[in-house]
Point group: C2
Chain length 363, copies 2
Amino acid sequence: MKLFIPGPTQVAPEILAEMSRPAIGHRTEECARLWKECRDGLRQLMATEGEILMITGPASAMMEAAIRNTVADRSLHLVCGAFSKRWFDIALSCGKDAVALELPLGQGFRGEEVREALQSGVDAGRPFEAVTLVHNETSTGVTSPLEEIGAVVAKFPNTLLLVDTVSSMAGMPVMVDAWGVDVCLFGIQKAMALPAGLAIASVSTAALERAETVPHRGWFLDFIKLRDRNRREQSPTTPSTAHLYALAAQLCRIFEEGLETRWERHAAMARQTREWAAGHGWTPFPEEGFLSDTVSCLARGEGPDFVPALDTLKEQGILVSNGYGELKGKTFRIGHMGEHTSADLDDLFERFDAALGAEVREA
Amino acid sequence: MKLFIPGPTQVAPEILAEMSRPAIGHRTEECARLWKECRDGLRQLMATEGEILMITGPASAMMEAAIRNTVADRSLHLVCGAFSKRWFDIALSCGKDAVALELPLGQGFRGEEVREALQSGVDAGRPFEAVTLVHNETSTGVTSPLEEIGAVVAKFPNTLLLVDTVSSMAGMPVMVDAWGVDVCLFGIQKAMALPAGLAIASVSTAALERAETVPHRGWFLDFIKLRDRNRREQSPTTPSTAHLYALAAQLCRIFEEGLETRWERHAAMARQTREWAAGHGWTPFPEEGFLSDTVSCLARGEGPDFVPALDTLKEQGILVSNGYGELKGKTFRIGHMGEHTSADLDDLFERFDAALGAEVREA
C-alpha cells in the first residue's frame, strides 16, 4: 500500500529497519543516550527551550495530558473539525468545565475571535486556565494562524496556550517559544514520517508550574513525573525503544534535508495539488487564507464525483482519504507530507486521472 | 546485549523483523483483520471470554485504566513490592480513597489475608469497589496464589479483582475466567517476548458494567470507548501497527510451542536457577511457596558478593539485574522468561561462575 492519507504516512526503508533493532534495557546508559539524543533533536525541531516529554502512546493521550496537567477547572476549546472537537470531548471526560468556541467546518480561527472569547471569561470573573488549538485540522485541511493567536493569548497571563501540531510539525513552521506555545504536542506518524507509537510534547515553565498546583493529574500522564524522570534521561515506564531508535534516525534525516527546505517542499506539494484539483473543478474546502501545506481537503464543487476513483486507486494499492465524518463524499483529502515528493504526486495524479477517465468511459 | 533482566527480554529475530513492516492505515480492513487476529489469540492465551482491550502504551497506563474505570471512591491494594506499590500510588494520584495492605518484601498474599481485609471494608460499611493484586512481583520474584485469592474475592460480589500479570502472562498459568479475574492486564515485553509498546487487558462484563457508572474516566483509558471501537475491530486512536504485526506473529509461535509446554519450560528454568544459586550459597529471596517461575530473586545470604560479577557480565554484553530499590546489593534477579531456554541458562551460569572465579583470584 502507498499511503496518501493524512497519516499514517510513508516511512523510509532505512527508518523501518531501525524498528527491528534488538530490545535494550530501558534503565541502561545506552537507552539514556538514545533518550537524550531524541530530546535534543526535538528541542531543535520545535524551536524551544522548554521541557521535552515523550510517552509511548497516541497523540490523543498527550491531548488528555495537557488538560489534566494545566486545567483544574475551566478551559476554552477552539473547535473547527473532528480533532479540535476531540480535545473538547477529552476535557469534558476529565470532568472539566470545558467551553467550546465552534466554527463551521472549513473555517479557521483568527486572533480577534480568540481575544473576544478569552476576554469574556475574564469579564465573567472566571478566566480560562487554558485554551486549546489544533494548528492543522487534519479533518478539514484548515491551518489556523498560530503566531497571530499566540500573540493574543500572551496578553492573558493566566491562560496557557495548548496546541496540537499533529499534522503540521516537521511539515510547516512551528516556533514554539517565539509564538508563545505552552504545550505543543504531536504524534510521529504524520509529517515526521515515522511509524505510529510515540507522542511528544514541549512544556513551558509556566505550564509545569501550573501542573504542580493541579490535583489528581493521574500517574501515566503526569507532567511532573515525566519531567523528573527526564532528569535521568529516562521514562517512568518501559518505552518502545524501537520507536526511539527510529525517531533518532529520522531527526537526523530531517535536519540533513534542512527544516526550511522541508517546509518549502510541503508548501510546493500543496500548490501542486491545488493546481491539479482546479483542473478538475475541485476547489479547496477551507476558506481562503487557511490552507494547509500538509493535507489538502478538496471539495467536489462543480467537479466530477471522485469516490469511484478513490476505490480504483485502492485496488491499485494507493490510499487517498474520503472526507472525514459528515464530509464523506463531499470532500476528499490528499496527505502530502513526510517523505512524499512532487514526483510522487505526479504519479498519483496520473493514476487518479486515469481512474477518472476509465470512470467516464464506463459511464 | 543479551538480556537476562526481568524484562524487557530477548525477542526472536523473526519477530523483530515484523516490526519493520511498512505502515498501514489504521482504518483499513487490513488493520481490522490484524486487530481481530491479535484479540482472538489473546483471548485464547488468557483463557477468557471477556473483552480484550489493547492500547499503545506501557502496562502502567493500563493499571491506571483499571482504577479509573472501576473505582469511583474506594480501593484496596495488596502491596508486597515496587510494582504493587505503584498501583496504590496510581490510585492515590487519581484521587481515590486508596487503602494499602502491605507485606514485608519477599512475602506474598494468601487468600485469608485478603478475605479479612475485604471483610473489614464491609464491616465498616464502606466496601472496597476493587482490589488490586500483582500476580508476579517482578521486584522480589514473589508469585501470589491467584486462584486462591480469586476464590476469596468472588465471595464479595461488589468487589472487582484487578490483576497485573505483567511478568507472568505466557510464562505461568493464568486462567482469567476460571479464577474470577475482572481485569487482567499485562505488557508484552516480559514472558510474551515482544518489544515493549503495547498494553493489554481482559475486562469482565461486571467490570464493564461498573465502568459505565464511574464518572470522569477520562478519554484515552476509557474502557467503554475502547470496547465500542473494538466492535469495529479498531482502536479509537492510531495504534502502533508495527507492534500489532509482531504480536500476531508471536501469538502463533506461542501456540506452536503449546501453552503448557511453555509454562513447564519456565518452571524448569526456575528450578535450574535455584539449583545453581544454591551451589553458591545464594537462597531464594521470596518465602517458601511463593517462588516465581519467570524471575528468580536471589538473596546473598552466606554466599559471595555477586555485584562485581554482574559488572563483569555487563562488560561481556550480558545483563542480569541487581536488586530493586532497597534490595540492591542484597539480592539480584535473573529473568528466565520468554525465549530463554535451559541451554541459555547453562551458558549464563558458566560465564557467571567464571566471573566469580576471576573475582576470587583477583582478591
